[in-house]
């Protein structure tokens, strides 16, 4: 192993790590606001990548039908609980996103527009998943929420198989340039991954620091009951959180799609690595999750080089010393303040 190999591995690890970081941030976000350990985060990744890949072939992606189905279920639930008007309101955004995609699919629009459509469709899943699976269990224990979340994961993987089929797809690269820095080759796509990750993190920071909605989410994360007393709706907070999580997932999918073949079930493992990063951060700290994710990416890359058969073992064993260290250093506190 010389310097050039090490730097290539480092770059490869950081590129994957940047995607894990986004997913890690989404996991931390969802957990702090809703106390859901969101296993299906990775499913949004494969949904995003596959939706774009199928749009590229000029067909209507299956996610459009799935979204409409889910929106109808959510609208019916909403109608029963809070009336017709709010039911129709639930239906509005998903109908718009899927209708637009359905109309645009055969037109072979430019890649960027198709990418935006894919993000729109997958993002619309977020609030609906929350409405259908989690909203009525808002005050349940984290364990119950975790079990539901595992169920949602299996359901989404199953629907992925039905709507996308068993074979994988590769979406086209957004930027096909290559930069040569000595022995190091930086692809345009890797650059886009870094820029997109940084931009998303900056935007999330602005959202939480500067906007009313962001502050409401933070308030809910710190103290649910207190936030409710101050007039922050936990329903809205939950749905908004899931909207952000789904959007981050979809964008991650588009970022990772051109560099690997994405299958209907690929997202799980990618999401799980984001989850490891989130656990490193104790499911609470954004900056630590970011560092943790980059660390996971780099460890993965070096592990594949030295012992590729044990790569996953090494990456997931990493979580043990971190948990041990956390349990020894953190003072125990109740999760509900």
């Amino acid at each position: 192993m010389d310097f050039s190999i090490a730097s290539i591995l480092l770059l490869d690890g950081m590129t994957n790590g940047a995607v894990y970081a986004l997913l890690g941030l989404a996991t931390v976000l969802v957990f702090t606001v809703t106390r859901v350990i969101f296993i299906p985060q990775g499913e949004f990744v494969s949904y995003g990548a596959l939706t774009l890949a199928i749009l590229q072939t000029g067909k209507v992606p299956g996610t459009v039908w799935l979204l409409m189905g889910l929106a109808l279920v959510a609208a019916l639930m909403e109608w029963r609980s809070s009336g017709l008007k709010s039911g129709l309101k639930t239906l509005l955004l998903p109908a718009l996103a899927s209708g637009l995609t359905w109309w645009a699919a055969p037109l072979q629009l430019p890649l960027l527009i198709q990418a935006i459509l894919s993000i729109a469709v997958v993002t619309a899943f977020g609030p609906l998943v929350y409405r259908v699976a989690f909203q009525s269990l808002e005050s349940a224990s984290p364990l119950v929420l975790l079990i539901v979340s595992v169920g949602v994961h299996f359901a989404m993987t199953g629907f992925g198989l039905v709507f996308f089929g068993a074979e994988g797809y590769r979406s086209p690269s957004f930027w096909d340039t290559r930069f040569n820095l000595g022995s190091l080759t930086l692809t345009g796509q890797a650059l886009i991954i870094f820029i997109a990750a940084l931009a998303l993190i900056a935007m999330l920071w602005l959202f939480f620091e500067r906007t009313l909605f962001g502050k409401a989410l933070r308030a809910t994360a710190v103290n649910r009951t207190g936030a409710r007393l101050m007039g922050v709706s936990t329903h809205t907070a939950g749905q908004l959180t899931f909207l952000l999580a789904a959007m981050i997932g979809a964008i991650s999918g588009l970022l990772i799609g051109p560099s690997t073949t994405v299958f209907y079930d690929s997202g799980f493992l990618i999401g799980l690595k984001g989850f490891v990063a989130a656990v490193v951060a104790g499911l609470s700290s954004y900056p630590v999750a970011l560092v943790g994710a980059l660390f996971v990416g780099v460890v993965e890359s070096f592990a594949s080089f030295w012992a590729s058969s044990f790569k996953e073992v090494i990456v997931f064993t990493l979580i043990l010393p971190v948990l041990l260290w956390r349990s020894l250093t953190t003072v125990h506190s109740d999760e509900e303040h």
Binding site: I8, D12, Y169, F268, I270, S304, S308, S309, K311
Partner: protein, 380 residues
Amino acid sequence: MKFKTKLIAATVTTAFCSLINPAWADINIGVSLALTGPGSGLGIPMQNQLKLFPKTIGGEKVNLIVLDDATDPGKGASNARRFVTEDKVDLILGSCITAVAAAMSDIATEAGTVQIAGSPVGLPAGKDKWVFRLPQSNTVMGHAMVEHMKKQGIKTVGFLGYTDAYGEQWLKEISPQLEQAGIKLVAVERFARPDTSVTPQALKLTSANPDAILIVASGSGAAMPELGILDRGYKGKIYQTHAAASQDLVRVGGKAMDGTFVVSGPAVIAEQLPDSHPSKKVAIDFVQQYEKANGAGSRNQFAGHAYDFQVAMEKVLPMALKKAKPGTPEFRAAIRDGLETMGRTTFAHGVMNWSAADHWGYTLETGVMLKVVNGQFKVE
């Protein structure tokens, strides 16, 4: 529902026949296939081919009792149980899914009934006394590949395969064959289908700089590792296994796949086979028959296995009929002996030579090397 009516029809036919002459005069074959569930893509083509199965063989009426195992090992086992206890079949065909076939094998063995599996079910030595397989083993495919490497003058090979059973089987099969051919295996790297990058493995492989790299992966998952290796500027030859011999490889990998060598069974590339390949005539017959009934371009590897099943039956059942009456344990044993002693038989999928010691059976001339040229598979 169509399937149910057929089942009823089959049962009714059996009932009628038993009125006319004693039931044991008919040959009954129990067929369990994945007609629903994730394996249905393999089971349905087999069923389509079985529709062309002859009504009589060797002057005896043959009844096929087709049941759906829904890609579920439990369902497959209960189908097998039904075949041996209620239908008292002479022979079982199925399943096309390895796990289901494995679940059925215990019951077939216990009842002393031959099971011909449409999947490469691996059983411990001695356990497969009653089980025969229609698909080729990796050994046979590996042989064609190593022969091709020898011809290309390859001295060193790198291995990049799935971390699962498929990758492991190939590594186990190909290592001794390479050693025998005097080819050195210089690097062994593994990856998993959902991996986001193989850059580190590709780095290690290309720094070992072998003459050829063998990629063991399946379908559309086989393109990503090859692209990863090419990305690192690898200029040597790249080999892929028969699990990658589908259009999905080219669909995902695009232009970059050109020049890749892929090993394959002969059935689906019938017309392209060199005249010297023993299966050419049979494979063309299969493809023409099947596509006449199911439309152009509908040919399928598993339909080919069902066709081969028919070839084997037409050879073995007359032999067994000479020894015993259908419906008796002696007849079932005679079928087994017949399969083991039928000798070289040309299948659409290669040359089969089952023996008491080898229930896989394909001879080494079976595998065919293909090359990707302009996105099409061409026989080398």
